[in-house]
């Protein structure tokens, strides 16, 4: 039994120094870490490495829009702050608003949600659809990469020793039609059983962009650019012709282990519904 070491830095510089020196793990909202480290009533939680509590670092807070149209979300932004921000893309806001219960949404952070890399995590799924990126900082410097590249698999990321996610960057979106669904084990305060985001950009009757991302349908959030390319460039009237090919390709891209029939069936029906809505000339916006 070893003592648990815990540090509370006052600024990012100090945090990065401790992270590097102690090979520490960062605790942001704590809503994942405190559960995974729990040892039961009356016993301190245990972690494999020293813990740096970054919850109050001012540099990692706030949501802003850059002049180039990118939205920067500080890694410590809570799900509630994201859900309430008009600067954030509606798909991400929807996902954040349906995460857990009120108390959790007040503490869980977007940085933590990404670093936890659960295939059932709520926010990575729409972020990956939007080609969002993360900024990683350490004493050695700064890196930036797509969320889709950062998350390698279930609980696996590219996070290196001493690194902290400092912000999430969402590029400007030209999507004209979007769809989001979270299927939980109940209507509120639930872990995802299946999630999906779908987006399309339609210009002059032509699909110039088409994207989808499936959560809880494999070891990580699934994008399939080869499947998406089946519909990109097609006219709305051509969609019915290519729909089945796309649905089959998507079905091959996902790999749900538990409840495979349900996850495959529901995913197929939701995608089919969205494509049908597009081809029948649905108005721009969120398709319900």
């Amino acid at each position: 039994m070893e003592e648990m070491m815990c540090y509370i830095p006052e600024n990012l510089e100090e945090a990065l120094a401790i992270m590097d020196e102690k090979d520490a793990i960062a605790l942001a909202g704590g809503s994942d870490l405190m559960v995974s480290g729990a040892n039961g009533t009356g016993v301190n939680p245990s972690f494999s490495r020293p813990v740096v509590i970054i919850t109050n670092l001012p540099e990692l807070k706030g949501i802003k829009r850059h002049e180039d149209g990118w939205t920067e979300i500080g890694a410590l932004s809570t799900s509630r702050e994201i859900a309430e921000s008009e600067l954030v893309h509606p798909l991400v806001r929807k996902a954040a608003s349906q995460m857990g219960a009120v108390a959790l949404r007040n503490s869980a952070t977007i940085g933590g949600n990404i670093a936890n890399a659960s295939p059932k995590g709520d926010t990575p799924q729409p972020l990956i659809l939007l080609d969002a990126e993360v900024t990683l900082k350490s004493v050695r410097g700064e890196r930036r990469m797509k969320v889709d590249d950062f998350i390698l698999g279930a609980k696996k990321t590219q996070l290196e020793k001493g690194e902290i996610i400092t912000s999430v960057l969402i590029p400007p979106s030209n999507l004209t039609h979007c769809y989001y669904r979270k299927i939980g084990m109940r209507r509120a305060n639930a872990i995802s059983k299946l999630t999906i985001s779908i987006g399309a950009e339609v210009r002059d009757g032509k699909v110039v962009d088409f994207r989808a991302s499936s959560g809880a349908a494999g070891p990580k959030v699934i994008r399939s650019h080869s499947s998406e390319s089946i519909l990109i460039g097609k006219t709305l009237s051509e969609l019915p012709e290519y729909k089945e090919e796309f649905l089959d390709a998507w079905n091959n891209a996902i790999s749900p282990r538990a409840m495979p029939e349900y996850r495959r069936g529901a995913t197929r029906r939701m995608l089919s519904f969205f494509i049908d809505a597009l081809s029948s000339g649905a108005e721009e916006g969120i398709i319900e």
Binding site: M1, N39, G40, T41, G42, V43, N44, R181, I183, M185, R186, R187, A188, N189, A190, I191, K193, L194, M259, E261, Y262, R263, G265, A266, R269, M270, F273
Partner: protein, 715 residues
């Protein structure tokens, strides 16, 4: 002096302390020099224990096992029978079986020790499901009988089945199944043991303090009077704290006998979810004989998964059989029940106590027959509703007037049932379903007199009166209900009535807080004691005590299960309307309407709370509460993977109470705590079946199971 009347809407006496978080539970208690205990449990579903390697124990730490039971004691807990061992020795029968108790001052050290105890097993093949148990998978649990049948019974009514089935022009047969259910009481299980004046004193979160004394005394070969049980404020139970506290208190008693210091044992939520009793999974095979579109006979075979020990399962099974025809009078019936042993955590009491499983089965079976005949399920079912004086499945009679027709009128009108049932065509995505159900109040037959012999005592001091009974508050509102009955009879304000959490050395045994009997039976006893005190008020500070008396003329034979099983039934109607999202198979419940006949309510606010809670718990059981056991291990381990409904899942419910005063209850009250759980599940399934134009034969039906059923039925 103005006094509290039954019709007064009052605030629950425990509402404020509980809502503010001021109420103290057993886990909040600390005694001087108190030690902690951790359970060491089996990780093998069935097998021999070859070796137990315990790390070197630091000073002040002990590992208590069956070997610490003194010679004059027996390693058995006495629930209904004495088969449940306090500590497994030589062999284990299920995952989670108690092997030992680690006791010491520091929980961090205890956890380290627990994680470093290594037990070697010689595993044997376990039986897990009912079918495994029927097939005696891995060898019979009872070699002398050559099977896994813990208990069985049958009931017959009317003509012989072969004769009835010969006359039938059609036999409708199907199998219906229900799953495990976890109680999820807000407070997990816990107890503290200590010594006071040479007696073993327990502080426990429990429904039945007197049960604990009886169950564990034999472990040390001592008298029940050497044990004192003090109930602590109990944060929910639902039957999960009826017999199960014995499983904590038994090992604690053995430890206390060795250690003689206060010892506290509290389960974490994950322990409580994986290693506590559950509702019995069931499998019911119903065969119904039809002639000219009418039912002439019904044969049912009912199997309950008992787990590895009997606990209360034979009584649960009996109640299942006595409710297996639901609210219907079927002219000829033949009902057989078997409790099947498996290598899984024993199943025990849970709100409804065996009745919900068979009521779900018969109600759904009746709906399926109606669909098969092409008639509206309610239109079909209402012709069979049993009436006053008609024969029950135990050859007794319904004593009270059955008000179901009036209740159906209220519910169908409020829900607009008849219009919606016609308009929502099968498979249209919208559906409305309706069910009827009942629950026999109190112990079966003459059990209240023959087995329990309940007492109640009132003690007057000036203008205050203290109630001394063993009945417990566990969230159902009994602290308020019982005080209200006494206050109303004595014509005192409720503030002048005292009723503390019971201490077995200070109160009389009023029987277990179970079986929907507290208001109906103990409430009546308190009312009688209060009537006597009121008559003798001029005598000053007196004590009055009464004993239960069974009404004459209602015979019951417990050896053959014949006679009047229940003197007062509660009756219920539930109607549920749903919309199913055909993309995701998610079901949205858009309306709930209920009516219940509970005699007369003692406190309508408490009753309303019970109705809401019971109906939602039943809808959770039908829709989302999935608990699976794979190879002896529960797959769902915590509240994030075993989910219960939130207020977002079900809408506000219309509720109606049917007045029908019960002559032997206080102020006309009957039991109601379990009734409200017994039937909304079937209404929900009925509604989803109609919305999707499909058939379900088991619950729960989360979206993935709906997907599977749709696929199967499409083939």
């Amino acid at each position: 002096m103005s006094y509290t009347k039954i019709s007064d809407k009052i605030e629950r006496v425990d509402a404020r302390t509980k809502a503010r978080g001021e109420a103290m539970y057993v886990c909040d208690m600390t005694l001087p020099n108190m030690l902690y205990a951790y359970m060491v449990r089996s990780t093998c579903p069935r097998g021999k224990i070859l070796k137990i390697d315990v790390p070197n124990l630091p000073k002040g730490y002990k590992f208590i096992t069956a070997d610490d039971i003194p010679q004059k004691g027996n390693n058995e807990l006495w629930m209904i029978s004495k088969d449940w061992r306090a500590f497994a020795k030589d062999y284990v029968l299920y995952v989670g079986e108690t092997i030992g108790l680690l006791v010491g001052p520091d929980r961090t050290v205890l956890k380290y020790l627990r994680d470093n105890i290594h037990i070697e097993y010689e595993p044997e093949e376990p039986a897990v499901t009912i079918d495994d148990g029927i097939a005696s998978k891995g060898g019979p649990m009872f070699p002398e009988k050559g099977n896994n049948v813990f208990c069985s019974l049958h009931c017959e009514k009317g003509r012989p089945m072969e004769e009835v089935f010969r006359e039938a022009d059609e036999i409708f047969e199907e199998t219906l199944e229900t799953g495990y259910q976890e109680h999820v009481h807000l407070e997990t299980n816990g107890a503290i043991v200590t010594m006071e004046d040479g007696k073993f004193v327990f502080y426990a979160s429990a429904q039945c303090p007197f049960y604990i004394r009886k169950s564990i005394a034999g472990l040390l070969g001592i008298s029940t009077d050497d044990i004192v049980v003090r109930q602590c404020t109990t944060g929910g139970a639902f039957g999960g704290k009826e017999h199960f506290p014995d499983v904590l208190c038994g090992p604690l008693l053995v430890a206390e006998n060795v250690i003689r210091k206060p010892i506290k044992l509290i389960f974490d939520r994950e322990e409580d979810t994986q290693f506590s009793v559950k509702r019995h999974p069931s499998k019911c095979v119903y065969k119904t004989a039809l002639k000219d579109g009418k039912i002439i006979g019904m044969d049912a075979k009912v199997y309950y998964n008992v787990g590895a020990y009997l606990s209360s399962s034979f009584v649960v099974l009996q109640r299942g059989i006595f409710h297996a025809n639901g609210v219907y009078n079927i002219p000829s019936t033949h009902l057989v029940g078997e409790g099947i042993g498996t290598n899984t955590f024993p199943t025990c009491a849970f709100r409804g106590f065996g009745a919900p499983q068979t009521i779900f089965a018969v109600e759904t079976h009746m709906d399926h027959i109606a669909h098969h005949l092409g008639v509206d399920p309610l239109e079909f079912k209402k012709d069979y509703i049993i009436k006053q004086g008609e024969e029950t499945v135990t050859n007794g009679h319904i004593i009270e007037e059955v008000k179901l027709p009036e209740m159906l009128d209220v519910v169908t009108k409020e829900a607009d049932y008849w219009r919606k049932a016609k308009e929502y065509t099968p498979g249209c995505g919208k559906g409305i379903g309706i069910s009827m159900y009942l629950h026999g109040g109190a112990f079966t037959g003459n059990g209240e007199q023959a087995i329990i012999k309940a007492h109640a005592r009132l003690v007057r001091t000036g203008d205050r009166v203290r109630i001394e009974v063993g009945s417990t508050e566990m969230g159902q509102g009994f602290q308020t209900t019982l005080r209200k009955i006494a206050a109303n009879t004595l014509q005192l304000p409720i503030e002048n009535i005292d009723y503390n959490n019971p201490d077995t050395s200070k109160v009389v045994d009023s029987g277990p807080t179970a079986a929907s009997r507290s208001t109906m039976i103990v409430g009546k006893l308190v009312e009688r004691a209060a009537e006597e005190m009121k008559r003798r008020w001029d005598e000053g500070d007196i004590t009055t005590e009464v004993e239960y008396e069974h009404p004459e003329g209602y015979p019951w034979d417990q050896s053959t299960f014949r006679g009047d099983a229940y003197l007062g039934w509660g009756w219920g109607v539930a109607c549920v309307e749903v919309e199913v999202d055909k993309l995701t198979n998610e079901v949205k419940t858009v309306g709930i309407w209920t009516s219940h006949d509970i005699g007369h309510p003692i406190d309508e606010l408490i009753v309303h709370g019970q109705v809401n809670g019971g109906i939602i718990q039943s809808l959770g059981y039908a829709s989302m509460e999935k608990l699976e056991n794979k190879n002896g291990f529960f797959r769902q381990k915590r509240m994030s993977d075993y989910v219960i409904p939130t207020s977002m899942d079900f809408p506000r419910q219309f509720y109606h109470l049917q007045e029908n005063p019960y002559p032997w209850g206080p102020q006309g009250a009957k039991g109601m705590g379990e009734l409200v759980f017994n039937g909304a599940d079937a209404a929900y399934v009925d509604a989803v079946e109609r919305a999707l134009g499909t058939t379900f034969n088991s619950i729960p039906i989360p979206p993935e199971d709906i997907e599977e059923a749709l696929k199967k039925n499409a083939q």
